[in-house]
């Protein structure tokens, strides 16, 4: 029999059982839909991470205390915190092709102002900080080198802190208290949003790092050093020079610092979202296989139920091959139908997710193509056994079957 007629026969058979066909396809619809949705959410998350990385500032190198193995995530504070402000000064003074350096000291503390109080990050930085981070000051101005030298009690604040402590007034010139010390607010930073790791970057108070070390946290070491290279081409050279310089300053002691470029950090972050995508995609794939087994189950039931039909076809001259092909095509059509509807559902679900949860999603053509291919393969794989069972029936037995 010609392939086309077999195709028509299979199509007719499916149409005769529209409801059951749709229910059978449902397993595939859900499976493919889930795959498409998770993959597009993963893609979206990756795109957002990349955008956030770009917004963090360019050509940034960070020096962390302690020696880390590869992987790039920061360990806890205080492991071997031997990074000092002098290290930062040395880098500024001796390494070429640098735009700015900021020794960072980080802490969480209660701040009071205006009769209100708020627990926030208190970061000690240098005046280069806004420029390094590509972070504009929307009103007021940054503290100066002079403020750093004089351990001035001045601060600039993030938008969240401004909103919490000064809901109805201009914070510039006002005073906020950290550990009961009054700090004068010089400026307010632009909105930055959430970081790669999900924290609110606007929930911050920035003061000179010297003031932080001497007056607030009373420590002699710093949390990290932020460096901006003059161009992306210089990034690796600068990183190398910083490493060499710091090693030299430690005179043969075990290296107790790690230097990371922005790119390496970004990689670590995308790595996490990739793992998530893989995990969710794996779960979705399992549901796809379950859907395929559903197709097989229904096709087996269908073969038993339609034994007489098969008997008639065989009696009037169908070859086993024709019956095999018919049931195989039915299974493939069911899976493909499920695949196509699943793609539509997946796209719909991705849109809904991005609308309601503000999750970015990106439906990729590759995932759509793979989904169609996978559903065809499922049709062939799970359809073959029932189809072969039908093809091997004996016409007399099949006709006598009640």
């Amino acid at each position: 029999m010609r392939f086309f007629t077999t195709f028509l026969v299979a199509l007719r058979a499916l149409r005769r059982n529209t409801m059951r066909s749709i229910l059978t396809a449902l397993g595939i619809i859900i499976g493919i839909g889930a795959v498409i949705t998770t993959v597009s959410m993963g893609n979206g998350a990756k795109a957002r991470v990349e955008a956030q990385v770009a917004s963090l500032g360019q050509n940034i190198i960070t020096v962390y205390p302690g020696s880390f193995s590869s992987g790039g995530m920061r360990g806890g504070f205080g492991s071997s915190t031997t990074l000092t402000a002098e290290d930062a000064d040395a880098i500024m003074a001796e390494v070429a092709d640098i735009e700015g350096v900021s020794p960072e000291v980080r802490d969480r503390n209660q701040v009071l102002a205006n009769g209100l109080n708020w627990n926030t990050s208190i970061n000690g930085e240098s005046p280069d900080y806004p420029q390094i981070k590509n972070w504009r000051i929307v009103s007021g101005s940054m503290f100066t080198e002079q403020d750093v030298k004089s351990l001035a009690k001045v601060a600039i604040i993030g938008k969240t802190v401004a909103d919490q402590l000064f809901p109805n007034e201009d914070p510039i010139g006002q005073t906020l208290r950290i550990r009961n010390l009054p700090f004068r607010i010089l400026g307010v930073l632009d909105v930055k949003g959430y970081s790669l790791f999900g924290s609110d970057q606007d929930d911050v108070v920035i003061i000179p790092y010297t003031s932080h070390m001497r007056r607030v946290s009373r420590r002699t070491n710093i949390s990290s050093i932020l460096i901006e290279a003059s161009s992306s081409e210089k990034l690796d050279v600068v990183k190398q020079r910083v490493e060499d310089l710091l090693a030299q300053r430690r005179k043969g002691r075990e290296p107790d610092f790690t230097v990371r470029t922005q790119e390496e950090l970004a990689q670590a972050a995308t790595e996490t979202s990739k793992t998530m995508t893989l995990l969710l995609g794996g779960i979705a794939f399992v549901s796809l296989v379950v859907g395929g087994i559903g197709v097989m189950n229904i096709m087996l039931v269908s073969v038993t139920e339609r034994t007489r039909e098969i008997g008639i076809r065989l009696a009037i001259g169908a070859h086993g091959k024709d019956v095999l092909l018919q049931f195989l095509i039915e299974a493939i059509l069911l899976s493909l139908l499920g695949g196509v509807l699943g793609i539509l559902c997946g796209i719909g679900a991705s849109e809904l997710a991005s609308y309601y949860f503000g999750l970015p999603t990106l439906v990729s053509t590759t995932s759509v193509i793979i989904a169609v291919a996978v559903s065809t393969v499922i049709g062939i794989f799970f359809g073959f056994y029932p189809a072969r069972k039908a093809a091997q029936l004996d016409p007399i037995d099949a006709l006598r079957y009640e």
Binding site: T5, I312, A315, G317
Partner: protein, 258 residues
């Protein structure tokens, strides 16, 4: 001219069960073109088994079966399927139409599996329609089997059996599920086809139905015990006429009494 069906000492032994069943024990038979044969016998006498052998649905355990000159007993599964498709037409007791499939599509079915042919779907449709016309059901082409009476369903089945212009039309108890009047109607269709030269072999256990055929074979315990030509053959057209008159009379006599 050589007979269309030629069987020599054919045997069929079923050995699937605990005891082998010798269902057909040495039947020899010639059926020539244009014959109209009724195969009769008690239940279990081997009628269906013999029909399955004639219909190339099953292979004999022993013996030779030549259909239209071809030795069918030697063919493999697919070759048998092709023989069934091109040289034979089947009518079953239970009609065996595809459910939820129109009469026309049911009749088209054997042509879908026709090999060695390049028939367009338009021609397939046309030929199916023509066969429905022959059995007088052209107007019901778009009906589903469950919208048709038993007699109409059996006529669709006959149209399906005809559609590939078979050498022999085989029918296993074609009137078994029908009332007597509808049975006569179906026999009328067979007689009409037979007049056009189609060879028919049918199984029946009803004596009066066998009287519409030209030749009667009686089977007992797997052997032919009688083979005779029918005298005083019934003509379906006349019998239907008589039935109509009787019905009309019944109404006439019933009317005043009411």
């Amino acid at each position: 001219m050589a007979p269309v069906v030629q069987i020599q000492d054919i045997h069929k032994i079923y050995d699937s069960g605990e005891v082998p069943v010798h269902a057909v024990r040495g039947v020899s038979l010639d059926i020539h073109k244009g014959e109209f044969v009724a195969l009769m016998g008690a239940s279990g006498s081997g009628k269906s088994t013999l029909m399955n052998l004639l219909g190339a649905l099953d292979r004999p355990t022993r013996g030779i079966y030549k259909l239209d000159g071809i030795d069918v007993s030697q063919l493999d599964k697919n070759e048998l399927a092709d023989i069934r498709n091109q040289k034979l037409g089947f009518v079953f007791q239970g009609f065996n139409l595809l459910a939820r499939t129109t009469a026309l599509e049911n009749v088209e079915l054997p042509m879908l599996y026709g090999r060695h042919r390049k028939v367009s779907s338009a021609e397939i449709r046309e030929r199916a329609h023509y066969c429905l016309e022959i059995v007088g059901l052209a107007k019901r082409a778009d009906h589903m089997p469950n919208q048709l009476s038993g007699g109409q369903q059996q006529r669709v089945a006959i149209a399906r059996a005809l559609v590939n212009q078979p050498q022999v039309l085989l029918a296993d108890e074609p009137t078994g599920n029908l009332d007597s009047k509808t049975s006569v109607e179906v026999m009328g269709v067979f007689q009409k086809l037979n007049e056009q030269g189609i060879t028919i072999v049918m199984v029946t256990h009803e004596l009066d139905i066998a009287h519409y055929c030209k030749r009667n074979l009686i089977l007992r315990d797997g052997v032919v015990v009688r083979d005779e030509l029918v005298k005083d053959r019934l003509i379906a057209e006349h019998e239907l006429g008589k039935l109509k008159q009787a019905e009309a009379a019944a109404k006439l006599t019933a009317a005043p009494a009411a």
